[in-house]
Amino acid sequence: MNATRVSYTLESTLASVNKAEQAAAEVAAKSCFDPDDCGRIAMAVREATVNAILHGNRYDPSKRVTVSFESTAEALTVAVRDEGAGLDPTTLPNPLAPENLLKQSGRGIFLIQTFMDEIHFRNLSPGNEITMIKFIRAPGRSGKQGG
């Protein structure tokens, strides 16, 4: 199976979030996703990169975030890796629960789950990696859509 891979090593700054988002939009477009899916993928990568920089690396200038894309005929796989303390995804509160609806934060991973087909977390000790997969669908086939 042929795969195209590209990887970016980014500083822990807000500017890197925009770089990752833009790279995701470009890779998604090259992978033949429709414009709506390109937007969803770009937002998922943006949210994952925000989490890596803000919650993972905590803007530490000595730590980097790596964003890797692998594109095949079947799917686009994006991995975002930080060098922070790690994340236990089972502890994340449900942002749709009535008691959380008016909280200011806590929606990023929920949006990633909504926009991508699969997500996986890996504790790197130290660091965290989130892998997000979006499958390329044949025209006319419906799939998970999200926003």
Partner: protein, 115 residues
């Protein structure tokens, strides 16, 4: 594109015209500071016009929620006007469509504050 905010008064309602991206960083700060200043000045009826908001991320959504709760806690009301499809879909996905009063006509929105 950076976010811009400008406010105007219509029949006692403060309409804030927002444009650009409401995202982590500058966009969220502009929204936060704008609503905070309006509240401090005693404006209690605030209508956020999102018609020219091209993009919003989870931080921007959080900022909208924070603006809504702070205005409500100060005895006022904050409503949303002219959502683009993308923002509309995001608020539906996050169930915030049920929290905000969302309108698509300015005159109707202004009138709704004064009923």
């Amino acid at each position: 594109m950076t976010m811009k905010a400008s406010s105007r008064q219509v029949d006692g309602v403060t309409i804030v015209d927002l444009s650009g991206r409401i995202t982590l960083g500058e966009g969220s700060v502009v929204l936060r500071d704008t609503v905070k200043d309006l509240s401090t000045q005693g404006n209690k009826k605030i209508l956020l016009n999102l018609g020219d908001v091209t993009y919003i991320d989870s931080s921007g959504i959080g900022e909208l929620v924070s603006a809504f709760t702070s205005v409500r806690n100060a005895g006022g009301d904050l409503k949303l006007l002219n959502l683009t499809k993308k923002v509309h879909d995001l608020l539906q996905i996050t169930k915030l469509y049920t929290v905000f009063d969302i309108l698509d006509d300015e005159a109707t929105a202004v009138g709704s504050f004064n009923r």
